[in-house]
């Protein structure tokens, strides 16, 4: 079930009505569990079995960890959780990838390896719920979290539908603890949730889905397009993936707020970052912090010298790339970002005056930093979006070499004119986000205590006018061509 469908709208209205009419926390959790499995099973009911299996294994392992004292025993239990979770992820997501690469390796060594693929169907959201479930057992193993005694609560935690298929990947410490305690309806939180859902829907349905055809046209046939058009398509993809994924996160967080459960923030206006490290603190925050806490820091982080830090960053981002998809272009994307971060960290450590970065810098310098960071990110996006590494290099080559004659700019100009409405929309959206960047999302309205009824009433009308404008923007411009969220494929 996708957020931007009539099915989900009806589903959510029913869940909301029943959920808040149940006084007992236990039955609320039973409802959440049932709703989550319906939500997930809507794609394919067979996927629910896998979700249940993952949950049951981690529930059992965590319960056993509670009583296990011997470190060896605890190690073994953790290993069971890690191997079952990563094993399932590996089988469903990577088996064909590894088989194809193994075959290619054997062929290159002169062995005649017959084609062998399992053609395994990738269960939607497996990367997300596997990581979510894993962080629970690791935290229990580290004794940072008490294991959940109630199976229903644990199953509801793993399968919680607002974030099940594309995150944010919430920590058990945050989410499970909220599921374990009784919830009270908070009208402020619920209203804020509705606003965030509306903003997310606009980003996804109006901007991302309209940018998608521009990107597809260029990236599916890069050889047919000149440098400027490919560069333009790359910028469009940068906006598309942001609006698509952060739109999903906004709807997920908004839904959850309506149900009285807070999810962690996943995006903090990443394209306004002035450095790569800042970008990764603002982009897909739940995954970045997951990798930081459960991989980068355990590997040694940045505490053991520059070389070790570089190696740790490379390993982390290599695996982050692989997490995104079973293809080499994702791995290259991850590696580029890892290398960029390593270089940035090295440059920062070599700087003579470490305090310089804290000084006030000119607006122009800030803007150029933002643009430089965005450009670097866009180079990475070329690899992320291209259909193969070869395609990505071909695109970069064409951008670098086929952008200097006026004839190569003509198609771009006509493309800009053709898509002017959506481009103005995207620019407007980024401008609104820039203006409202101090808030968790642009539709946050904290009026404080306004004494005058006239002023208060006027502001309410203004807000409603804004919401109505956004609803009509969706009706008018959202193509609704059944386009799934990009991150569903991961």
């Amino acid at each position: 079930m996708t957020f931007t469908t009539i099915t989900f709208a009806l589903f959510f209205i029913i869940v909301f009505a029943v959920y808040w009419s149940i006084p007992s926390k236990t039955w609320q959790n039973v409802l959440l569990l049932a709703a989550s499995y319906i939500f997930y099973g809507w794609w394919d009911y067979r996927f629910c079995g896998l979700l249940l299996l993952t949950s049951l294994i981690d529930y059992t392992v965590a319960r056993l960890l509670e009583t296990a004292e011997a470190p060896r025993h605890r190690h073994r239990l953790l290993l069971i959780s890690l191997s079952s979770n990563l094993g399932m992820l590996g089988f469903f997501k990577y088996s064909d990838f590894f088989a194809a690469n193994f075959r290619a390796l054997l062929n290159s060594l002169g062995f005649d390896a017959s084609p062998f693929t399992l053609n395994v169907v990738l269960p939607i959201g497996i990367s997300f719920y596997t990581f979510q479930s894993l962080n629970y057992t690791i935290d229990v193993y580290r004794r940072e979290l008490k294991p959940c005694a109630n199976l229903i609560e644990f199953l509801a935690f793993v399968s919680y539908f607002p974030h099940l298929v594309a995150g944010p990947i919430n920590r058990a410490k945050d989410l499970l603890t909220q599921i374990e305690i009784p919830r009270r309806f908070d009208p402020g939180q619920a209203l804020d949730g509705c606003r965030q859902m509306l903003w997310g829907a606009v980003k996804k349905a109006v901007i991302a889905d309209n940018l998608a055809p521009i990107v597809e046209a260029a990236y599916n046939e890069p050889g047919q397009h000149a440098g400027p058009q490919l560069a333009f398509a790359t910028v469009c993809f940068a906006l598309q993936i942001y609006c698509d994924f952060s739109g999903y996160s906004d709807i997920a967080i908004g839904c959850s707020n309506v149900l009285g459960i807070r999810l962690m923030r996943n995006f903090a206006y990443p394209y306004f970052s002035q450095s790569l490290s800042e970008f990764w603190h603002r982009w897909h925050i739940s995954l970045s912090t997951w990798f930081r806490d459960y991989l980068y820091i355990p590997l040694g982080g940045s505490r053991q010298g520059a070389w070790r830090r570089t190696a740790n960053l490379m390993i982390t981002f290599f695996l982050s790339g692989l997490w995104h998809g079973a293809a080499w272009h994702y791995v290259v994307w991850g590696t580029i970002n890892g290398a960029g971060l390593a270089m940035e960290a090295t440059a920062a450590s070599l700087r003579r005056d470490p305090a310089r970065s804290d000084r006030k810098v000119l607006v122009l310098a800030k803007i150029s930093r933002v643009l430089a960071t965005f450009s670097f990110i866009c180079v990475g996006w070329v690899f992320f979006r291209a259909n193969s590494v070869t395609d990505a290099f071909s695109i970069l080559h064409r951008i670098a070499t086929m952008s200097y004659s006026a004839a190569n700019w003509d198609p771009l100009l006509s493309s800009l004119l053709d898509h002017r409405v959506i481009l103005i929309g995207a620019a407007g959206l980024m401008a609104v986000e820039w203006i409202r960047r101090k808030n968790s999302h642009p539709l946050v309205f904290a009026m404080g205590r306004i004494q005058s009824r006239w002023v208060s009433g006027g502001l309410t009308m203004l807000r409603w006018a804004v919401y109505t404008f956004l609803v009509f923007a969706i009706c008018q411009y959202a193509p609704f061509r059944g386009r799934e969220f990009i991150y569903f494929q991961f």
Partner: protein, 313 residues
């Protein structure tokens, strides 16, 4: 809580009223291709028994010569084929209530029916519903979920076009109501130039896995027909000859559906390959010459089947 619900309800009512105002002028165009659903149902209920009812998608609408069948076989042909986008469930449900003892049903399913289109597409389903609301009766559960999962797409189209008064525009040509004859065949394209879009072809073939549940659907429909004393046959849809190069998907459908289903099959897929220049605009849509060959093939196969049946004690 009460305040929140009231506020939200007020907001939704306001939005609904405004959207209602925006789309109020919308009327479906009565000349549309999908308007033929009404015509086809009229023909079906009017036709004298025994009838020979052809069902499937547009391969049936564009590719069967009912007049020739009427001249050669002692049955009144009714062409109920319209659009593969309606899906297999809808195509079968549409005639279930109308079947009479002694009818013959020939089902020629597009390959897409087995490759992800069992429950149809929202745009086609919505259009036959707006043209003939009584079609809601034929919706299967899968069709309803298709509409609810993708219905915003049709709503968006309505919203965009509501004020253009499309209902006042006259539509003619192969994709209009006027293209259909008194048997329900689409005939306006027959002598047009062949301009098939080869690049768009076989998209479903390449990507979508075979939906094994369709085999059960066909077998259940066969049982239903038997109960009603109705003969049911399967026939392959016509395809451009170059599809033979991608035999693996065709073979998969052949092995997992055609060879397992308990319905007599009138032909082989190889009988239904035609040169690309015998297709009008897409695969499945035959021009006159190939339509004639296909129909004669069907007539011969049906004669054989009927002769076999009549010779049985």
């Amino acid at each position: 809580m009460k305040n929140f619900v009231l506020k939200l309800t007020a907001f939704f009512i306001m939005q609904l009223l405004l959207i209602g105002w925006a789309i109020a002028p919308y009327r479906p165009n009565p000349d549309m291709f999908w308007a033929s659903t009404t015509l086809k149902h009229e023909i079906l209920s009017r036709a004298q028994s025994p009838r020979m009812i052809f069902i499937g998608g547009s391969n049936v609408a564009f590719g069967v010569d009912s007049e020739l069948i009427a001249n050669q076989l002692p049955y009144f042909p009714v062409n109920m084929g319209l659009d593969a986008g309606l899906g297999l469930d809808f195509a079968l449900n549409e005639i279930k209530d109308e079947l009479r003892p002694g009818d013959i049903v020939v089902l020629s399913p597009e390959y897409e029916f087995f490759l992800g289109l069992r429950s149809g597409q929202e745009s086609s389903l919505a259009r036959v519903l707006e043209q003939r609301p009584a079609n809601a009766h034929y919706l299967a559960v899968g069709n309803v979920t298709t509409l609810s999962d993708h219905g915003f797409g049709f709503f968006h189209w309505v919203f965009m076009n509501a004020r253009k008064r499309l209902d006042r525009k006259k539509i003619t040509g192969p994709y209009s109501l006027s293209a259909f004859n008194e048997y329900g065949d689409a005939v306006a394209h027959l002598d047009r130039r062949s301009t098939p879009d080869k690049a768009a072809a076989m998209k479903a073939f390449q990507r979508t896995p075979l939906d094994a549940s369709t085999l059960g659907v066909l077998n259940r429909f066969r049982a239903f027909c038997q109960k009603r004393n109705v003969e049911l046959y399967l026939s392959h849809p016509p395809l451009p000859a170059y599809y033979a190069e991608r035999q693996s998907r065709l073979t998969e459908v052949e092995q997992k559906i055609y060879q397992r289903v308990s319905i007599p099959v009138l032909d082989k897929q190889s009988d239904m390959f035609f040169p690309i220049d015998q297709f009008y605009d897409t695969e499945y849509h035959l021009l006159r010459e190939a339509r004639d060959i296909r129909t004669r093939h069907l007539i011969a196969a049906l004669r054989n089947q009927l002769a076999t049946r009549l010779s049985q004690p």
